[in-house]
């Protein structure tokens, strides 16, 4: 559609969308009644535990499970030998991550598992498993892993994009760009080139992975687990175990945080294999240490950026090379880092190169806008430094170069309607931007971008005999989305919010649903909910028409009622949804609307963050004084939960910028697999996080909704680094900016 087309919702007065009702699952969560992954049990349940490699890289010569199997209380022991061959490359990598094949590829890699009648018996059994390891040299750092003489994890897996002669740890090379970067840099008045490094971090969800699996002798299985996508779990486990998808029913528990870290499987195939072998239900719960060592942290990165700017603030060229290690298997998000890092800028000359590298670390998985925060950190730091050097206002420069509606994005496509300039203008006008700063204090600004997308979605909306409505959807609720679905259904149907209840159905109840990720749920499931509601409305209008003996075309739906229209207007009193529901049986049967779609048309979401920080020059400690998030939500269905996404992402970014990192010893083992030494932000570290919701409607959604969950983590690394660099008087180019690092940089600058 043309960019100046009016949005279909423009001018619509919403009654429920945009208000702040209490979420439907709230009471269960404040009373402790809600059931999370580890809160389920079954009669005859066994405890499952995993034996993990203590070596960063080792060949597994043999595994002897006989003594473990013989221990009283032990009902099953599994290794890779208990899983068949998997032909699909991606599935095979997943299998070899959840149960090692011929090599242990990282400290914590699963090599065997037991199921026993008690935790103590299971722990004893693990000690009785004899593994013969041949320890191999390991490599942890991304740049070291790219060296031609680095220890190699997998031979022959570099794909066709990798030049011959490079390290076998390089899996893929990605490049995009247009224009002439060299010419652009030559035309600049100032060129800055910098290198940056970021450490691996973890999503840090408070709930460890947990599941309960059972399988009958007929091969029918049930799985209860905390996940962002129970359909993905079903399909992946069925593929790995050689089952048909319909034989496995997965129920998603309430989930205690995901952020991308629960978009794959870790325990689930193992629990099912143990359940199959023992003939009993098996419950598996990761310890916090296992979560850090053996789930999916982010990539650590090494990034070079070169940007040229004219004295008037025009960016003449942007260039970046990003090197990401994705742990022990291919698939780091370096491509998304490369594509998103320049997205906020309208550039005639741009090039970004990305390298996907493997290393002896746990396989990375998504963390909220995967790959984007690191690339943005590097680019936004250099833009900040250029502004400082040329004496230019940071927001003015971004406005001058901003991507707008119709801009050809740095990574290729033309943008549709986007909200970047609205976000930047809001930041510029906000009192935070001009508030005075004291000694050792600095202000940082950064923008961020994330794609968002749609995906497979099914919603079934059922009208109950008493006129209440049930909405069944297939996407685990990680941010309050059930409230948003309930609101959208109630809005369309014209009935009170309290008359609608949204549930997350198990995999037997609906068709395929993509994972809760990509900021897709309020967009895609919302769209499907609205269409399902409209489908139910069509049916209810037809029922009223039958009762009145008029044409179905001559009935409209208004304020929760079917009303005769056109030539019959006023002839019959309106029928409420409840009244129509009460006679559903008499007029044709139960009333429902459903919608299944591979949703397209997701809009991108831009954000800008402002942060004030204070540095203690004696200790290097950083205090966040003030933080404001400006982000385009398209249409905020439930503003409190949109604010929550802004605040949560910002704080994760603060932790990533200041304290969080995976620390490895010379032996390649993780040294800080716990919340004491992997330091996430606590309440006393932070001020209130102010939020400003911008709404530039997304043409692809009936209400204009854009996904917001991920963009909020993209700006903070750079915004905080820019603030700290300003406060400390020296540019920090390595994350996290923990006190020793900041102090070291200050001391080095002092000379």
């Amino acid at each position: 559609m043309a960019l100046d087309d009016k949005h279909e919702a423009e001018g619509r007065v919403f009654k429920i969308v945009g208000t702040r009702p209490i979420r439907p699952d709230g009471i269960d969560k404040v009373t402790g009644r809600a059931r999370f992954g580890a809160d389920m049990s079954a009669p005859g349940m066994l405890v499952g535990l995993i034996l993990r490699s203590p070596h960063a890289h080792a060949r597994i010569r043999s595994i002897n499970i006989a003594k473990a199997e013989a221990l009283p209380g032990v009902k099953a022991v599994v290794t890779r030998a208990d899983f068949g061959n998997v032909s699909d490359d991606d599935l095979r990598d997943i299998l070899h991550n959840v149960m090692a094949h011929d090599k242990a590829l990282y400290d914590g890699h699963a090599v065997a598992a037991v199921a026993a009648t008690s935790t103590s018996a299971a722990r004893q059994a693990l000690k009785l498993i004899e593994v013969d390891y041949e320890v191999l040299p390991h490599v942890i750092d991304v740049d070291e892993a790219m060296q031609p003489d680095a220890p190699v994890l997998h031979e022959g897996r570099s794909d066709e994009t990798v030049p011959a002669g490079m390290s076998a740890n390089i899996m893929h090379r990605f490049e995009y760009g247009h224009g002439d970067v060299e010419a652009g840099l030559a035309a600049a008045d100032e060129v800055i080139e910098r290198s940056f490094k970021t450490a691996a971090t973890h999503q840090g969800y408070i709930e460890p992975h947990a599941c309960l699996a059972s399988m009958g002798p007929d091969g029918q299985a049930d799985l209860w687990c905390c996940t962002q996508g129970h359909y993905m779990v079903r399909n992946t486990c069925a593929g790995i175990l050689g089952m048909e998808v319909s034989q496995l029913k997965v129920t998603a528990s309430e989930i205690g945080g995901g952020f991308g870290g629960k978009t794959t499987v870790f325990l689930e195939p193992v629990a099912l294999a143990l359940a199959r072998k023992s003939g009993r239900p098996v419950k598996m719960v990761m310890s916090r240490e296992e979560v850090f060592r053996a789930s999916g942290p982010t990539s650590s990165t090494s990034i070079d950026v070169k940007i040229g700017m004219k004295r008037d603030g025009t960016i003449t060229a942007g260039w970046a090379e990003l090197r990401y290690q994705g742990g022990a298997f291919p698939g780091s998000p370096v491509q998304f880092g490369a594509m998103s890092c320049f997205a906020a800028y309208d550039l005639a000359n741009v090039q970004a190169i990305g390298w996907d590298v493997v290393a002896n670390r746990p396989k990375q998985i998504a963390y909220r806008a995967p790959g984007a925060p690191m690339g943005a950190y590097a680019v936004e730091s250099v833009v900040d430094e250029l502004c400082g050097k040329l004496g230019l206002d940071r927001l003015e420069v971004r406005l001058k170069n901003a991507s707008r509606d119709g801009t050809k994005a740095a990574y290729g496509p033309r943008f549709g309607r986007i909200g970047l300039t609205a976000v930047l203008e809001a930041a510029k006008a906000h009192p935070h931007y001009t508030a005075p700063l004291g000694p050792n204090q600095g202000r940082g600004v950064a923008c961020g971008f994330w794609f968002n997308f749609g995906g497979d979605t099914c919603v079934s909306l059922n009208v109950n005999p008493d006129g209440t409505v049930g909405v069944s959807e297939g996407n685990p609720d990680i941010g309050g989305s059930r409230a948003a679905m309930t609101m959208m259904a109630a809005e369309e149907l014209g009935i009170p919010y309290e008359r609608v209840r949204t549930t997350i159905a198990d995999t037997s109840a609906l068709g395929q649903n993509d994972v809760t990720d990509g900021s897709r749920v309020t967009f895609a499931v919302g769209l499907a909910t609205i269409k399902a509601a409209r489908a139910a409305i069509t049916i209810m209008c037809a029922r009223a028409a039958k009762i009145w003996g008029i044409d179905a075309d001559a009935v409209v739906w208004e304020d929760g009622h079917a009303k005769p229209a056109g030539p019959n207007a006023g002839k019959f009193p309106p029928m409420s949804l409840a009244e129509i529901a009460a006679v559903a049986t008499n007029t044709g049967g139960p009333i429902a609307g459903h919608h299944e779609v591979n949703a397209e048309g997701a809009g991108v979401s831009f954000a800008a963050h402002l942060v004030d920080a204070e540095v203690d020059p004696e200790t290097g400690a950083v205090k966040i004084l003030r933080y404001t998030v400006f982000q385009d939500a398209g249409k905020a269905v439930h503003p409190a939960y949109v604010e929550g996404q802004f605040q949560g992402g910002a704080v994760q970014g603060i932790g990533w910028a200041l304290n969080e990192e995976y620390i490895y010893g010379a032996d390649g083992r993780l040294q800080n697999p716990g919340f004491l030494d992997y330091r996430i932000p606590v309440a006393s570290d932070l001020p209130m996080i102010d939020t400003v919701i911008i709404e530039v409607a997304n043409p692809g959604h009936p209400y204009g909704v854009r996904g917001v969950g991920e963009t909020s983590i993209v700006p903070p690394l750079a915004a905080v680094a820019n603030a700290v660099s300003a406060a400390a008087g020296v540019r920090l180019t390595e994350l996290p900016m923990s006190p020793p690092k900041v102090l070291h940089a200050i001391d080095a600058a002092r000379g």
Binding site: F174, Y176, G260, M339, G412, R414, G416, G455, R520
Partner: protein, 81 residues
């Protein structure tokens, strides 16, 4: 004919061309014709691509119409977190 923008590292398969033309009426035909004309693209298509048509991202929707004046850009398959 539909013009399709090819990203940098994929241009090795198209003889260095940043933009190619194929005859296609929908997304499926587009990818099939691209793979036929430039077999070096097949491994990437197998790994996964997102196709941006007139500014909107499409994953796997075979029958999404593509018009001769559509702006089509190939991207690596986008996933979220």
């Amino acid at each position: 004919m539909v013009r399709v923008a090819i990203w940098g590292s994929l241009r090795a398969a198209t003889g260095g061309r940043a933009e190619v033309e194929v005859e296609a009426a929908n997304l499926r035909e587009l990818l099939d014709r691209l793979a036929e004309a430039y077999p070096g693209i097949q491994p990437q298509i197998d790994r996964g691509v997102s196709v941006v048509i007139d500014g909107l991202v499409y994953n796997d929707s075979w029958f999404t119409p593509v018009r001769p004046d559509s702006e089509v850009v190939l991207l690596p398959r986008i996933v979220g977190g």
